[in-house]
Subunit: 262 residues, 2 copies
């Protein structure tokens, strides 16, 4: 599972304040920590703290890249904010995200093409999040065929089945798992799959336990990538162990340490 | 997941000694503890400590039933030892286990019928454990059709795909998971599925972590039952959370406590 660290998000108090104060040290520390703990890429979201999100995204991108040599995942509902990051990205970036709506696809897929970036496609549209796997697959198919028309490489396309909180949408967990499996047979080569993990435990008491249990199940269903908190060591242990059991890394007694050294 | 506690096994030092010494208290304590921690049934295996396994099974069964009102799972390679337990069982019992070999099926299925017991069928025969899901399904089909011929209710039949240690048979994990899924479409109604969990971590260093990670994955693939150590609280938390996420129990903030009170 390709791990995208979720912590650089202006929604979090410490990060929001760092964006307002132009406090590079805090951002750079959080970037480094996530990579040290096993993140393969970093999500970057300016959050709600500024009226100049384009400037904030530029500053965040430059600040992170001063210390971190990792792919960035530019996370915004505004194409201009995403493009501000893409322009500065030194590594192959990821756009987070488009929906299956034409007005989003028509703007964001050309950006992905122009900057040779990956893109996350949410299996939903403006009418909302589907309640079953079949509707999710319809949205996925729409996104994938649009990406093919735009000439994107499907290996760069991540379809997100959209995880909902277990405490309000309990039946959706199994639908999401089956969707992860089904998305892989929509096209050949198949698209990648991704989930925003933390949403599953939103509002619940046992957040960490619920997060890592769902991640293990999703990994078993073939999940390609996850946006999560890599500083949760039990969560990282869980995903490293899931990969081991799925034969995606080679067994050694100290496989946890071996993964982290890598 | 129907939890079968694995701890009453003469292979374990403390239990082996209790069998030899006719120490009821130790056996009864271990029986109660497992049920208190969430086991739905108890495996009973006299182990290698006695030359009179039939007598030992009788004593164990009586001893356990003095304090525990739970189904027992009589675990032996000898039909006479299993029958000694079946004769005394107060609750619907489970025979652990037959293979797909005719000489086993011809003896054990009539016992299951006679005592109205469930039976675990290992997806293997005397030539050994299969290396892939297809051969596992062949064995499962053989066992299921034999059970149907004997007039057993398939809801009482548990097919075990046979978990192997990750440190020596790493590719088998995914085969076992797919087998759990495939066994369910062999017949209608489908048989149940069961695994002997601890085997997956045999000889590994991170035993508890590997056990609970594999159990979560197996639960996601539809596992019906598992033989495991219910005193491992993290393991029980993991399976309770997996069931929650699979919508098999109703969410409440204190779902862990709610399960244990039940």
């Amino acid at each position: 599972v390709f791990i995208i660290g979720e912590l650089i998000n202006g929604m979090y108090k410490q990060v929001g304040r760092a964006i307002v104060d132009k406090d590079k040290k805090t951002i750079q520390r959080i970037a480094r920590q996530q990579l040290e703990q096993g993140a393969n890429a970093l999500d970057v979201n300016v959050g709600p703290v500024t009226n100049e999100p384009v400037e904030a995204m530029k500053w965040l991108t430059e600040t992170i890249q001063e210390v971190a040599d990792a792919p960035l995942c530019f996370d915004s509902t505004k194409a201009a904010v995403i493009e501000a990051g893409l322009k500065l990205a030194k590594k192959k970036a990821i756009i987070n995200s488009t929906t299956a709506d034409d007005e989003k696809l028509n703007v964001l897929l050309p950006l992905a093409k122009k900057y040779n970036a990956g893109i996350i496609g949410l299996a939903m549209d403006k009418t909302g999040v589907p309640r079953d796997r079949y509707k999710r697959s319809e949205h996925a198919l729409k996104i994938i065929s649009s990406c093919m028309e735009q000439g994107l490489d499907l290996a760069d396309v991540y379809i997100d089945p959209i995880v909902l909180p277990v405490n309000v949408a309990q039946a959706q967990g199994a639908e999401v798992l089956e969707s992860i499996r089904e998305f892989k047979i929509i096209s050949d080569p198949p698209p990648k799959t991704v989930i925003g993990l933390s949403n599953v435990s939103q509002g619940a008491k046992e957040r960490a336990l619920i997060n890592r249990t769902f991640l293990i199940m999703a990994a078993a269903f073939g999940l390609s990538a996850a946006i999560l908190d890599p500083l949760d060591q039990n969560l990282m242990d869980a995903v490293i162990t899931a990969e081991l059991l799925l034969n995606k890394s080679i067994y050694c007694d100290s496989y946890l340490e071996a993964y982290r050294k890598k």
